[in-house]
Symmetry: C2
Subunit: 213 residues, 2 copies
Amino acid sequence: MSAIRLLVLGAVRQHGRAHGYQVRNDLEYWGAHEWSNAKPGSIYHALKQLAKQGLLHAHEVAPSTVGGPPRTEYEITGRGSEEFFTLLREALTSYDQQMDVKSAAIGFIVELPRAEAVALLKERTRGIAQWRASVTEHYIPEDGPEQLGHIGEIMNLWIHTADAEAAWTQGLIDRIEGGAYTFAGEGEPFVGVLADGVENPYATGERHPGDAR
Amino acid sequence: MSAIRLLVLGAVRQHGRAHGYQVRNDLEYWGAHEWSNAKPGSIYHALKQLAKQGLLHAHEVAPSTVGGPPRTEYEITGRGSEEFFTLLREALTSYDQQMDVKSAAIGFIVELPRAEAVALLKERTRGIAQWRASVTEHYIPEDGPEQLGHIGEIMNLWIHTADAEAAWTQGLIDRIEGGAYTFAGEGEPFVGVLADGVENPYATGERHPGDAR
DNA sequence: GAGTGGGTAGTCAAGTTTGACTAGCGAAGG
DNA sequence: CCTTCGCTAGTCAAACTTGACTACCCACTC
C-alpha cells in the first residue's frame, strides 16, 4: 500500500472541504513531500481517482478567491470516511516496514478513540513478534546460519529493525496510555492543518531530512 | 532510487550471462520478491531498460534447453558494471531508510574490497548522525516540542529508527573488520546465486503474484 | 502602462510498477 | 493417443509516479 490515499483522504477529511492546492500545502506542512510520494502530480491523481471511486465528491470548479486559476473542491463521502479508517487501522496494525505509511498513520492516529489506538498498536507489536519469529524460523538453515554467508546480514538487519520498531511502538503505547495527546471525542482536536492564510513555518525551501541526495 | 536496477544488474553480473527467468529465480532465492519490487513485470522491464541504455547486452533469443519458450540472454557490459558499483556505493553510503535498497546493497557488499566496504559504512554512520542532527534541529520548534502535538511522534520515530540503524551499521562494521565474510579479491567468493538445475530451498511453494495457476 | 516576479492551481507526457494473462513443452494418467 | 498438469519464460494493459511545464492573476517597478 502506498501512503498517498491515506494522506489525501485524511487531509480532505480534516478540512471538511478542500481543493487540491490546499491538500498539497497541508502535506507540505507535514513534511510529507519529503518522506512519502505526496508530490503534486500524485496528489492530483489521487484526488481524481478517489473521486472516481466515490470516496470523495468533486464540486465543480469554483473561481479562486485569492488569485490564480479556478479550482475543484473535494469533500469526503461516507464511503470515503470508511475507507480512511480502514486504511488507518490497517497501517497502524500491520508491520510492513514502510516509513511513509507508518508516518502517515501516526499523523492521523488521534482521529481514533484512545482505547482503539492502543488496541491497534498492541496488535502491531504482536504482528512484529510474529513476523520476527517467522523470519528466524524460515530463513535460518538447519546447518547453522553460516550457511547463508553475508546474506544472513540481511535477516540480521530485519530482526534488528523489527526489534527497534517493537521498542518504539511500546513507548508510544505507554505515552498514549499515560494520557498524552488529544484523541477523538476528547474535546478540542489538535490542529494538524493550516488555516486559510496562515504561513507555513516549514515551507523553507531548504533541504530537509529524508531528501535523497 | 528503487532497488530494482541494483538487484537486476547485480544478479546478471554474478551469473556472467543470464536470462530473465534466471534473474527472477535468483531474486526469489534472496527473498527479494518479499521485500522489494522485484516482481516479474518489473524485472523484465528493468532488463529491457538496462539493455536499451547499454548497461546490459541482449543476446538474441536462444531456444530453451529445458522446455518452455525461447529466451533472451543478457550479459553485463563495462558501463553496466560501472553503474552497478555506483549504485552499490550510493546505496551503502546514503541514509534513505528504504529497506529494499539497503537489503540489496548488503547482498552485494562482498563485491567490494573489504577496506572500501568498511569505509563506505563508516561514511554511512556519519550520514546518519548528520541527518539525525538536522531533524532535531529543524523540526523542533523554539517554543518546545509540545507545539507539535502528536505530530512530534513522527520525528520521534525517525530519530528512533536512525539510532537503531546506526547501531546496526556499527555492528556490521565491527564484524567486517573482525574478518567476517569473503570480500572481493579474497579468494573463492560466496555463491549467492543458484547454479543451473539446483533446487531453490526457499521456494516454499506459496503462491506469488505472477505465478501461473 | 509594460514588463516581470512571485504565488496559486493545476496539467501532461514519459517512465515505472503491478498483477493478471499467455504460450511452449514434457510427463503422467487414462 | 490425447488430455491435463505443472513448470518454464515470458507479455500486456492498467494504474501509479515523477518532474517539468502551463496558465492565471496580482503587485510592483521603471
